[in-house]
């Protein structure tokens, strides 16, 4: 499965990518919001790991745009955030975020959540 990892921190991108590659996935990386949208459309990933705070377009805006487009509406999204308050989490879930993970996070937990989401997506397909 191809996964897009979008985060403005090179270190986070590499940490997440290496973990997902070790799980057997293909990984592409984006470092800002616009590049994320571009890569979703050109690379057609099966899942998006998305940082909430990104340059050019923030995570919520990206989710809104992806969910508004019939081509990308069903793309599962795992959002990485700093300490999120309840309102932010609810707003994100309402927008269509599938999973929230608060930084600092566990790579193993992320790996499990990604696997579950991908299984769920393939079951419903």
């Amino acid at each position: 499965m191809k996964i897009l990892v979008a985060d403005d921190s090179l270190t986070v991108r590499r940490l997440v990518s290496a973990r997902l590659k070790a799980d057997g996935h293909d990984v592409v990386e984006a470092e800002d919001g616009r590049q994320t949208l571009e890569l979703v459309r050109t690379e057609h990933p099966s899942l998006l790991v998305l940082d909430k705070v990104m340059p050019k377009l923030d995570g919520f805006e990206i989710v809104r745009l992806l969910k508004a487009d019939p081509q990308t509406r069903s793309l599962p999204i795992v959002m990485l955030t700093e300490q999120a308050n309840e309102r932010e989490v609810l707003d994100g879930l309402e927008l269509g975020v599938d999973e929230y993970m608060t930084k600092p996070f566990s790579l193993r937990e992320l790996s499990l959540r990604v696997s579950q989401l991908l299984e769920g997506a393939s079951d419903s397909a």
Binding site: L15, A18, P104, F105, S106, L107, R108
Partner: protein
Amino acid sequence: MKQALFVSVLVFGAGVGSLALFILANRLASTFGRRKQERLRPHYAEAIASFLAADDGAKLPSLPDWKAARQAFWAVALEALVELEGRERDRLTHALEDSGLVADATYRLWSRRRRVRRQAADALALVRSERGAGVLLAGLDDSDRFVRLGCARALAELGDESFQRRILETVGLEASIETLGHEAEVSPGLVAEVLLALGPRGARAVAHISTSARSEHLRRVAVAVLAALRLPAYAPLLRAALASRDDGLTVEAARGLAALGDVEAVDVLLDVMRDRDRPAFVAAEAASALGKIGDPRAVPVLEAALRSDTWSLQSSAAEALAELGGDGADALQRAIRSGRPLDRAHALAALDR
């Protein structure tokens, strides 16, 4: 005479020239070092990521001895530690200990340069390695306040109860001390970081500051820390802070009591909202707390606040009514039918969330 003057000017010129050359060389070396580090960072980010993604037997690549490489690796490792928790974090910490980088950082705590010692203390707080504990304890007596507080925070992060008394003494907050120390008065933000790192173990000291500190700002910080700790045992203290005439204290206490869902705070929160002398931002925070605590007795006061002429208070009151549901939702429906455009807009926005 002329010759002596000429020689003096020449010597002075040579001195100034050498100094300028020295500064220039230093700057060039520093720029060159920084660029080198920037070039190395992606490589080390990849190395750390691969190490953590591999199984437990994997090892970090051995590091070259040159300074720029070790600094670049250390910077990337610290960034990774900020982002990670769980087993991967522990593995990285142990790998940094084995590579000698933690020892390098503890050694930097002896540097003659204050900035280097401060950075080392901050880094050790991130690493949370017990191997640094001895030097960190010595760092509590450093001549620089920021180094002392940095070391206190790093020790607090270790979670070892035996350090607690020394940490609290260092930040001037040992609960038996009648008058709060210099550190707490002049660096309340840093002290708050130390206390947050101590977690519930430091709560008694925080409670002490929240009532005894001379500095208004420090008392507010203490109440904010106490609120963040979310310990029901300290709800009475937060309620007392809520009733104080210091608006900053009231706001922090309202946040903490809301997080605890403290029903006993409802009467005081209602008093705060009814108090016309309180600024709107205080009433807005009280409204939010009432919504989160979820006591329907708050509905009439929140409905009145929805008709106020302050945007933030109206918005908070509408959201609180929506959170209360039942009678709160009925109040929002009345606002929608009221014909007052702003009341209607806030009510619709709150119900839409």
